[in-house]
Subunit: 330 residues, 5 copies
Amino acid sequence: MATNYAASVIVDCAHYREGERSDEEPLSIPEAAERLHEDGFVWIGLHDPTDEEMSEVAQEFDLAPLAVEDARERHQRPKLEDYGDDWFLVLKAARYDEAREEVEFGEIQIFVGASYAVVVRQGDVEDLRGARKRLEEHPELMHEGPVAVVWAIMDKVVDDYEPVIDGIEADIDEVERAIFEEGEDQTQRIYFLRRELARFYRAVHPLLAALQPFERQSVQHVSDAMRPYFRDVADHLRRLDEEIAMQRDLLDGALNANLGQITVRQNDIVRKVSGWAAIGILPTLIASIYGMNFDHMPELHWLLGYPFALALMATLSFSLWRFLRRWHWL
Amino acid sequence: MATNYAASVIVDCAHYREGERSDEEPLSIPEAAERLHEDGFVWIGLHDPTDEEMSEVAQEFDLAPLAVEDARERHQRPKLEDYGDDWFLVLKAARYDEAREEVEFGEIQIFVGASYAVVVRQGDVEDLRGARKRLEEHPELMHEGPVAVVWAIMDKVVDDYEPVIDGIEADIDEVERAIFEEGEDQTQRIYFLRRELARFYRAVHPLLAALQPFERQSVQHVSDAMRPYFRDVADHLRRLDEEIAMQRDLLDGALNANLGQITVRQNDIVRKVSGWAAIGILPTLIASIYGMNFDHMPELHWLLGYPFALALMATLSFSLWRFLRRWHWL
Amino acid sequence: MATNYAASVIVDCAHYREGERSDEEPLSIPEAAERLHEDGFVWIGLHDPTDEEMSEVAQEFDLAPLAVEDARERHQRPKLEDYGDDWFLVLKAARYDEAREEVEFGEIQIFVGASYAVVVRQGDVEDLRGARKRLEEHPELMHEGPVAVVWAIMDKVVDDYEPVIDGIEADIDEVERAIFEEGEDQTQRIYFLRRELARFYRAVHPLLAALQPFERQSVQHVSDAMRPYFRDVADHLRRLDEEIAMQRDLLDGALNANLGQITVRQNDIVRKVSGWAAIGILPTLIASIYGMNFDHMPELHWLLGYPFALALMATLSFSLWRFLRRWHWL
Amino acid sequence: MATNYAASVIVDCAHYREGERSDEEPLSIPEAAERLHEDGFVWIGLHDPTDEEMSEVAQEFDLAPLAVEDARERHQRPKLEDYGDDWFLVLKAARYDEAREEVEFGEIQIFVGASYAVVVRQGDVEDLRGARKRLEEHPELMHEGPVAVVWAIMDKVVDDYEPVIDGIEADIDEVERAIFEEGEDQTQRIYFLRRELARFYRAVHPLLAALQPFERQSVQHVSDAMRPYFRDVADHLRRLDEEIAMQRDLLDGALNANLGQITVRQNDIVRKVSGWAAIGILPTLIASIYGMNFDHMPELHWLLGYPFALALMATLSFSLWRFLRRWHWL
Amino acid sequence: MATNYAASVIVDCAHYREGERSDEEPLSIPEAAERLHEDGFVWIGLHDPTDEEMSEVAQEFDLAPLAVEDARERHQRPKLEDYGDDWFLVLKAARYDEAREEVEFGEIQIFVGASYAVVVRQGDVEDLRGARKRLEEHPELMHEGPVAVVWAIMDKVVDDYEPVIDGIEADIDEVERAIFEEGEDQTQRIYFLRRELARFYRAVHPLLAALQPFERQSVQHVSDAMRPYFRDVADHLRRLDEEIAMQRDLLDGALNANLGQITVRQNDIVRKVSGWAAIGILPTLIASIYGMNFDHMPELHWLLGYPFALALMATLSFSLWRFLRRWHWL
């Protein structure tokens, strides 16, 4: 007996034959299950299904029980599990929250068999409809069967990594400017950017290993014609992987540079402070001298002794100031 | 002649046939040894056995002598030793002591043959009864024989690593807050967290190598049906391994950030101190000036000369204070 | 129907038979396409073609569609894609802008088939005519077919990496001199040189992987005679790769040395400042003493008391100065 | 003609047949050489032989000339050389000199053939008699031939590494306490411990590679029964190797923590110094004020003006002290 | 027609048959070329030949053209190029200039065929005659043909690396002493030693890869008897490689220790300076107090008021000095 699916759970559910969508309207799960034995394949997109909803799909489509159990717990690492006839694939979708300088992750799980592709989107991640639309516009790819779905979603997910990298790069540029132009301490910001980068790396890097079987040796259901497409995705991913490594290296360098600049500034402060102290001590010394109580101090009796002393103080201070200025001490 | 086992040594001892427990009550070691030649297998759980107790079990079950000798010395690294018909497996159980911020380890040793699984728990580690109970509820797994016991215990041990990681993560969060919000020096705490993480890594990482034979190529007595289960454990372990690597990296970053913050604070202190020194030196200079002994200093003879001097001191000090304030020096 | 190519797009287009150029004048694209079925091969050089211009060439020469799509997006990593009969190769050309201390990159894409080599130069990179000229002077190499074109261009591109390395090395020398001889802070410069080096590394390093198939096992259309030539390029590249690694290491060392020198200088400043402060405090103390109001202070009544006090101040200050000088404090 | 061996050179020399020692008394070299053609094998232990003594043994036992030449020069890295019928093995024995915190090394060289094991101990290293005694008590092992000697000596040498690791660990504990509890600078000690660890690592790590042939694929003269014994040694060595890596990491962390603590202490010093300076400057300012020469300063004429001024100085200084105390500045 | 070789170019040129030198006197190049078709082989040693001189040798001996072109450009990395029948080998000779603390490099190129070994020495490197002499004294090795020449030269070059390592080690010892005993800043020296070590590493490390084919699988013209000799060289090289790695690590540690010591010394300076400042401020405060103008200050009227004040100043300063001394502040 069919569960009542919450309205938002089934994003779309369609049967494709010879690369063409059979029905315009989304099918229900049981309708889709019936089509499994026909030619072509069924593509179901789910969003945050409950455990019961997931169980029914699993039963109708005869999904591998271990894969289904796996799918239940979130926060898995990207991976490809091969269950003989079927595979189970986990991907991490990512989005950069520019304001909080944090990477947000969602999880995408794909169950693939000879005649179905069940795509489960967990969490608040980018809609995948773009992937379906793009594939529906290329019947020659859709004709390749469920593996084309895998490709289309991977391609979309990896494309969506691009703005994350760009966002972090923009923040690194800001950090560089703050350090070298404004001389601001960036320790905290660098620390947290580095942490986000490490989290992002953990989403991106294991996917490379999961992509290898598609790219190199033949996985079941993958035709030779699809291989260059997967190689293309892998290539993109490798570039992102290298960029993450480079950004990480930049941030490490920036942390060191930041510390260097702080230390340089400390030197400046000590120099400036001591310079001004010297300028302040000179007149004090002169005042102390004319405060001595000797009986015979001719200046004390001059009519202009007092202005003379004040002028002496000012002159000496000013000369010292100019001197320190010229020697780049101030 | 049978040794008298201390009450707490034999945790449980049972014979399983076709996935079902044969007797409700625990068997004695000699009883169990007799069942070895029947169908099914025997599962013995021991806790901190003495050398003599261990020797008797070894004799009754004909365990590999080198493995038994190995088992005697604690503090081994996780490993799988293949003795042809039998294997010997060493695991590290872990628990996080939140108060002392230390990871505590116990050792679990498993002797596996075609018809027995002898599980020895050394030290003050988590009870493994959960693993037995779980397996008794899944006769289809228990039916796989001793290898199912290995899986169940590995799964339990690896699941118990999770709270360790979580505990360390919570401490890292506290360290981050202490550094960036409260500006406290965290050098010592970071140092010791890093040490605990290194110790934990030494328990987790070698287990991955020990799991590989189960996961990839066939080890003796391991059916194809069990493989995905081991793959699942390995996958979990790999995720923990990556998380340890990331936490370690975070701690390295935190140590640098901590040092950076200390240096920044040093700048602040020097700046503040010198600012206040300047504010204190100005009135001293004025007092020195009016302490000079010139005959002709008109202010000295003013009726309000003294209050005027005090006011001058206060005004100059206050102006300097405002000036330094505006330039973010104080 | 043929597109009208912008004057500057087609750099050269020729047909080669038995190592010799068939026509002195450049061919048009359609003319070249007709020659594809004759003996020999066609070599087209394009510079910044528009999408339409590229499309026509792709159609006439039947280039692999995925490769053409790839070529459209710039900023790819160096790679070799094998499409069975054809390959697609991406290279990064580099130039060092000495004034801005930045490495500038262009992209070179090569489509290679049994009877054609289409070379697309993207961006403001060094002209490749040198490669064509060199090859036309060596008919025995040109006779090897399109693979010779690949070699000639790779060789040219890798040779052009040399001045980049030299430019960065010269800058590192300057940095070393600035740190150790002039004692200037070089944090910012080191940071940006390191960044440029990382960018350059990303152009050089992946090319090694792309070169491997030419060097080791036979790729299609590559004769044994060509192999040593590719090995030569690979060898050159490996040396550059090692030099980048060494330069990077030098810059890391320089950053540390720079920080060390800053800290040493800070010690010097603190020492100097405090030395001069001591020299300034001594006379102030003496002046304060002779400013005391005791009834019985014989010096106050001496005729030469005042000059005596001044001389005492000068003598003590000078002695302290000499003393600090001798102890290397000043 | 036989050389006269120095008394201490031949530690022991015996012939073993079927696991049993043939003669109780040590044999002379020529006697031993005669037994080579009988069943069983000869085991000679030498200590610091001269070149001539070594040459005679080499001639009598027909040792591989290159191996003998190798043996002459000390300071080799641990290695296994396979000369077809014979092998040559180099091991490093280690001892920790707790007082000087230095690791001392000796060299052990083993020449192994089908019917002999010549063990040369170079330098002031632990006696190996324990290994011989242990083996003589296990005839079933001795029966395996010269390979059992190799195992027994390796096992002894690796066991003797344990106290080195323990000694260094105890020193690291002391360093931690010194840094975090006593706040002492430990830079020098950490540096030299790190150096000793690096030297020790060079003795331990290459031995792992030398052990591999014994452990994995069959080396000549090594029976399957011996393999688990070598695996056991290798396992021990791997654990030591990991512990060295961890200790090294701890020392790196300790160096950073040490620097962090020094910097924190510097902040404390600057804060304290400036606090006390402020407390000292306040009364000076007041004294200066009352040293001014204004005609009209009522306090100067008070009977208790002087005590009032002193009290004011004390009160202000004390208040400032309490204030700084409360703000954790002092 | 034969070129006239500069006197110093041909170091020696001889033909060897059955391990024996055929003629005592050096042959001319054309004479040598004629012997190529006889039994045995020709060994030519050249030093800094001009391009023409090199060309003639290449022509007479039919050297691989690409190898000859390679040889023309200096500054290659060590490598072994296999041209089927012939090989081409590049080595770096090294010498340590103790005074300038720099490693100087020369280049040695060896062209090897079935019946010749052409050894070209480029730059100001150690004479290789020792290698020839040694081989002429071992006809059984010389009998192995040109490969023995390769071994003899490699062995000599690698032996000559030893004093370089020793020289750098001596400098590191000096650096350690300077840091820990004399407390001198060693930043600059460490930086440049590290650079030299990196340059030396680039000469030593790639040679290991070039040696592998000789050591492991059979290269053409290399008999089994020669293999242990090459293994010996490789072993030596591996030890040097490890020592370089260790020295590099020591220098990294020394740089950190150096920075630590500088920071410790900074603490000392700040502490000392502030201590002396406190000692100087106390008497100034007392002088200020007795400079106040109160009507009623009994001490001012004491006969011994002035000496009393001076004594008070001295006593207080001395007490503070002792106090700070006892607390290890000074």
